[in-house]
């Protein structure tokens, strides 16, 4: 396919246009009509009929009823043909397979194990994590107290103020880090 001929036409067109090509449904047979296929008939009462092909168009013109033709969607719907299959198809949906990628420090299998844990196991793990966290927090508190005591011994309101200031956000951040650390520990342990 040579290129240079068509370039001229595109110049005339003067720019890109995007269009969505919609598939229509044949108004006689009920099948899909792909873009560029079929023929459209506009009746005087403003009703639009789309026909998939000449055959179907002729049937319509001869005033045949779609419901009397066994192969049409309308017939099938009215006589309840094949609906069970359609339903089954809907039920037969692919079960999503759990997959995981390996990251540095975390193995694929370990991640999968954590993800596909049963709810009871999850709860157990949570409780363990909570306990661990409490321990750690208490440890930290102890450390804090110790540092405070030291600071008090050294003397100075400034240090106290500083600690008070960082109390809120810093504590939360530390707790968050702890949680993350603990969870990752749990994953690794398992």
């Amino acid at each position: 396919r040579r290129v240079h001929g068509s370039r001229r036409y595109i110049q005339y067109c003067g720019g890109r246009t995007e269009a969505v090509m919609k598939t229509d449904i044949c108004s006689f047979s009920g099948y899909k009509v792909m873009p560029g296929h079929g023929i459209t008939f506009v009746r005087l009462d403003n009703k639009v009929f789309k026909f998939r092909d000449h055959r179907v168009k002729k049937l319509f013109q001869h005033k045949h009823k779609a419901a009397k033709f066994r192969w049409t969607c309308l017939f099938r719907r009215l006589n309840k043909k094949g609906s069970i299959e359609a339903q089954q198809k809907k039920l037969k949906r692919k079960v999503k397979k759990e997959t995981a990628r390996t990251y540095v420090g975390l193995n694929k299998d370990d991640i999968l194990k954590v993800r596909t844990r049963k709810p009871e196991e999850k709860e157990q793990a949570k409780e363990i994590a909570k306990k661990e966290m409490k321990k750690r927090i208490e440890k930290l508190k102890a450390l804090k107290k110790a540092t405070k005591a030291k600071a008090a011994a050294k003397g100075g309101k400034q240090l106290k103020d500083k600690q008070v200031k960082t109390g809120g956000k810093g504590r939360q951040r530390r707790q968050r880090l702890l949680c993350w650390f603990l969870l990752s520990c749990c994953i690794v342990q398992q």
């Binding site: 001929g5 720019g15 246009t17 969505v20 023929i39 506009v42």
Partner: protein
């Protein structure tokens, strides 16, 4: 980018054209116009009475001698095509009109005031299927025209039945009198808005 070469041989094969246009729009994102369209663009500069814009080449369904319905309330029932405005001509070829063409015609059935004289009309519907740019073919149930003055203003006040989009775009006076629904596709609506942007 995937360009299609449109040779003179290919120009006359319909099915190729259709899929080419479709693919053209989808893959390359370029709107493709029929070669004849460029000719019409040239012609538009000459200025038609009352007509606005250009028209793509459509299948000519109404040659001289055709008897078509009059779709307005002027009192004429029939219109017999005598000539087609702005028709070039070829030896022994009957001038033929399509939707949006202005024709010279005479009324064969209807009010005596309208009979036995040459009238001007614009065709709003045709039975001959014509191809739209999205590749679809459309046709109406009957052939119909509305009587019109030199300047493109309608003589009647009401139009019965649908009006083709191609005609409505070209003749704003007719479009304004057209009933609620002009034959418009979703694609055409998109297309239409893009044209306006330009």
């Amino acid at each position: 980018r995937y360009f299609f070469f449109f040779s003179s041989r290919r120009r006359h094969t319909r099915c190729r054209e259709v899929s080419w246009a479709r693919r053209c729009v989808q893959e390359t994102g370029y709107q493709r116009r029929v070669h004849g369209d460029y000719q019409w663009l040239k012609m538009a500069t000459r200025g038609r009475g009352g007509q606005t814009g250009t028209k793509l080449k459509m299948s000519l369904g109404l040659p001289v001698g055709a008897l078509i319905n009059c779709a307005d309330n002027t009192g004429a029932k029939n219109l017999s095509v005598i000539a087609v405005s702005r028709y070039g001509g070829r030896l022994k070829r009957l001038p033929a009109a399509t939707i949006g063409d202005m024709i010279l015609c005479s009324c064969k059935k209807g009010k005596p005031e309208l009979k036995k004289k040459v009238l001007q009309a614009v065709i709003i519907r045709q039975r001959k299927p014509w191809r739209r740019l999205d590749g679809s073919f459309v046709y109406f149930e009957d052939n119909a025209a509305v009587i019109v003055t030199n300047k493109g203003e309608m003589k009647g006040s009401i139009i019965t039945g649908p009006v083709a989009k191609e005609c409505g775009e070209l003749w704003p006076r007719i479009a304004s009198k057209a009933p609620a629904v002009l034959q418009l596709n979703d694609y055409d609506l998109q297309f239409h808005s893009q044209k306006k942007k330009k």
